[in-house]
């Protein structure tokens, strides 16, 4: 949770220094129980339109690979439990069936 708060704080700082980009707050992600997990884990480093534009053509394995890349390559501190929720959410709301 501490890491999450730090991430959100850094996101707020970034928004403050790149003022006009605060328009990303208009991005509306699909409502679902996992949405707060998405916001907490992903929006510290990038706007969530990255998810929107990459839909709908990715299967579960593809979203799994993207979440894994964000953790192992980009250094996002995502717990295993949250990663599983993210994959569920991304596959259901922004992916395609097998």
């Amino acid at each position: 949770m501490k890491a999450t708060q730090a991430l959100l704080a850094s996101a707020a700082a970034l928004l403050a220094c790149t003022g006009a980009l605060a328009d990303e707050t208009r991005i509306r992600m699909a409502d679902a129980p996992e949405k707060p997990v998405l916001i907490a884990n992903c929006s510290g480093c990038h706007s969530l339109d990255y998810v929107q534009m990459n839909s709908r053509f990715i299967k579960r394995a593809g979203w799994e690979a993207e979440v894994k890349k964000m953790v192992s390559v980009m250094g996002a501190p995502v717990s295993e439990a949250d990663a599983a929720k993210l994959v569920d959410y991304l596959t259901r709301e922004y992916g395609v069936a097998e």
Binding site: T18, G44, N54, S55, F57
Partner: protein, 402 residues
Amino acid sequence: MDRRSFVRGVAGGMALAGGQLLLPRSLLAAGLPSGALESEELFALPGKQPLIKRSFRPPNFETPVAQFSDVITPNDRFFVRWHLASIPQVDPREWRLSIGGDAASQPFELSLEQLQRDFEHAEVVAVCACSGNRRGLSDPHVFGVQWGYGAMGNARWKGVRLKDVLAKAGIGKDAVEVAFNGADSGALEATPDFVKSVPAWKAMDENTLIAWEMNGEPIPHWNGAPARIVVPGWTATYWMKQVVSIRALAQPLAGFWMSKAYRIPRGKFATVDRFTTQETAENTPITEIVVNSLITSVSDGQRVKAGAPLAVKGIAWDAGYGIRSVDVSVDGGRSWQSAQLGADPGRFSFRPWQYVFKPSRGKHVVSARATNGLGSSQTDQLIFNPAGYNNNILQRIGVEAA
């Protein structure tokens, strides 16, 4: 509302809704993922005209196709592409460029004033094109920024030759690559910094510049102020923005952005320049811009007058071998006619062309195919690769004459 009635609704212009500009659908690339079409909008970053938003942070914005009827892309309409979210406002008076590395015997530092005063100036008109331009049209779709046709631009760049600066730093014969780092960084310490290298021979090419001026004005913040690297003929991944460090290296550069990203399968593309110190058995860094063209004067679904002259206009470009010819088909590729080439601003530039015909009543599928000085042409079948690079597939634009 269907697509056609929406087009009529905006009457070929831009509609305002809730303070935001909507896109005239007729200007859009067909075939983008549905989520990319839903999330795009015209949005003006500070100092920019409205561009097509792909993502807000990091900012990724592309130039609308109609803009490319001008051979030079204006600074305030030039596409914006960043990998990492922290992009500082760099004060040109405070900016310093360090030149060194383990293959440079006399490392030194430069202010912008010194860079401009101490080296001979050079200018080049060159296309800056994202490796992933047109990625959104890949079939099947692939993950990444879902660009349409506008992640590119053509500008007159002014600066100094990188080779002159490297010579002053005492670049040695042992240098295999030259690495560039910019002032940007990720939101997290752990995120790999965006650092890129080119082969030493490419760094020493007389056309490779450290530029501070773009179309006669200081380079805009979003395009890499106060100075960026310009690598004519090669894709924009090497054109480091906000460059603060240049290092001559005796060993190949490692790291995510070289070893994993910006790679194409070996043997699939007809590009000439190789980046041998970075090649693996399977893949190689992308290097040159593939020969390509864009139709700018007609758009898909457009209705035109039968029997009246219709000018099909556009631009063509390649990695600097020069555009030899552009052929146009108005019957879906069954027959081809030569387009007339316009003025040549230089071998790294967009080259304008046009072809005029009188459409008979009915539907016509318009395509253009550019061929460069090596005889390389655009493909009619996508050369699929997992990152969606080097897309130069022929456009197919349907117009209805009545």
